[in-house]
Amino acid sequence: MEMPTINSRAQQMDAEVISNKRLGAYNHIVLAVNEIATYAKPGNFVAISVGGAGSSMVLRRAFAIYRAQIRPDGQGVMELVVAPHGNGSKWLASREPGESVNIVAPLGTAFGIPTEPVRALLIGGGYGSAPLFALAENLKTKGCRVDMVLGASTAAKIYAPLEGKRSVNSMTLTTDDGSAGTQGRVSDVLPSVIEQNQIEIIYSCGPMAMLSAITDIANRFGVMHQCSVEESMACGIGVCMTCVLPVEGRDGITRMVRTCIEGPVMDGSKVTWSKSREIPDGVWGK
């Protein structure tokens, strides 16, 4: 195991909610932060305390950082896209501007940016699109072509803000119910998008089943695949071992690896997308 320098920029702080707007099925939340806005990279996440003082919820909730920057007025801001799901995310989604939340950020690995211009495909499922827009901008700066495929069960669950659309060369939508874009799943349209645009690298973020399906297709086409995974996390900082996935290391050995600190962004081809609820054979220490 290497010394994790990965969270060395992470800070814990109270961050004031600057704005909180409902957008389709999600809440777009802007937090006032300090210089950590400059350290956060696309793919990093933030861990947030929920429920306030006297809450029965003892664990932080993880959210991808949608965007982080220092505004012209010098104020650091961090933006999130939150799906009100259970008690914790509902609490967060109901914070009013002026209230504060306690955050730890930036955490985890970031998407790797190629040094040469490449043809990149960014795939997001539901709120999984959140970290992809900042990534798209970065890739654009490096001269990459950026195509995007976003999928969700229904139109309201596709998160694709206007300014985000501007930073991509093409945008394909899929919905399970056909309410926006092609009816079907992201994986249905993938082969043709890859072929048409001669994709060299895929970046993805979304539900685990989607990431697994993308990995199969990426492998088939021999395309690199960096995906941001989403395992249940108790600590988010690498100390509890709850968030593991079987991942093959450089030495060819598959280990149960913490997705909070050696992820959430991982090489899709190295993950054993096995059935959950078991340790695959051959894993180190099984």
């Binding site: 305390s49 919820m57 249940s232 108790a234 709850t242 959950s276 609820r277 220490g285």
Partner: protein, 315 residues
């Protein structure tokens, strides 16, 4: 707060070892130490208790490994770890380099495992004490947990005692999932434990009402966090009443200085912080500072005076 012009003595003794303050990490909740050291210097707390290390590398259990519960959580990690050899090669030297005091937690599947682990550790420099986690399934006895049976609890602790030599103090970590924790405590002390660590997690289960199956892959898991604090306080109080001279590392749901103080009043000589770290990476530091302030405010001159203070005669 009272003005104090004396120096408060915050140090505590773990058997014959003295550490500068009584706040420790709880086994299995501080990673290898490196991860936490991003948030505070490990030398600032009394000691780092390592995750329980076993003889061989362990993959641990399949995910999901955790579920949040009201004021607590379940975990079922299954003692994932690199095994004692890699641990001694990598983790210990790094912790030593940080100036951290180290309590090594060990766990075995057989009595012989405990013996071998003790032999591997006896000559290792830089270790303050051993915590012997006997809340593990005993593969030789229908998977019954060592700590749930006085005989197997005794066997595991004797094996460590015999093989560690007279050097390192050993703390037996007990499970609260027993009918009579005092009798188990008495047994392991008799078998050579210098102290006790109370409490490990309580066996629990969460059923996911969407899938309608148990949430954790292994069905049951260990309950920790503030929800179990009353059980920890009770166990520590009972054991301290029965064995007042045996030092206790107390833990279970400590999230503030007030909580730590409660366990100290019950009889703990040191406090491990576990689940609270997940909610707050610097929990151990704030607990340490809050506890010190409370003790000074209450007029204690030394930490030692407060240990078991709730047992004094009522007047």
């Amino acid at each position: 707060m009272m003005e104090t012009n004396y120096t408060f003595d915050f140090s505590t003794a773990l058997a014959d070892r003295r550490i500068p303050n009584p706040i420790l990490t709880a086994s299995g909740t501080a990673g290898s130490g490196k991860e936490l050291s991003q948030f505070f210097p490990l030398s600032d707390i009394g000691a780092v208790v390592t995750k329980s290390i076993m003889l061989k590398p362990r993959s641990g259990r399949a995910t999901p490994r955790m579920a949040e519960t009201p004021s607590g959580m379940l975990n079922s990690i299954g003692l994932q770890g690199p095994g004692i050899d890699i641990f001694l090669e990598n983790d210990i030297p790094w912790l030593v380099s940080q100036g951290a005091r180290i309590i090594v937690s060990i766990a075995g599947e057989t009595v012989e495992d405990y013996a071998v682990l003790a032999r591997k550790l006896r000559a290792v420099p830089g270790i303050t004490a051993l915590e012997v986690n006997i809340s593990c399934p005993n593969v030789e006895n229908r998977g019954q947990v060592f700590a749930c049976n006085p005989t197997t609890a005794r066997e595991a602790i004797s094996a460590v005692r015999r093989n560690i030599g007279g050097e390192l103090p050993i703390f037996a970590k007990l499970s609260p999932d027993v009918t009579d924790i005092v009798s188990i405590a008495t047994e392991v002390v008799d078998a050579g434990a210098d102290g006790l660590a109370l409490i490990n997690t309580i066996l629990g289960m969460v059923i996911d009402t969407n899938t309608m199956f148990p949430r954790l892959s292994q069905k049951t898991g260990g309950l920790s966090g503030p929800a179990i604090r009353p059980v920890a306080v009770r166990a520590i109080y009972q054991v301290h009443a029965a064995l007042p001279n045996v030092p206790i590392i107390g833990m279970g749901g400590v999230a503030s200085g007030r909580d730590a103080f409660e366990l100290v009043l019950a009889g703990a000589s040191a406090i491990s912080v576990g689940t609270a770290t997940f909610g707050n990476p610097t929990a151990a530091i704030s607990i340490k500072e809050e506890l010190e302030n409370i003790l000074i405010e209450k007029g204690f001159a030394t930490f030692h005076q407060a240990i078991g203070f709730a047992h004094r005669e009522e007047i």
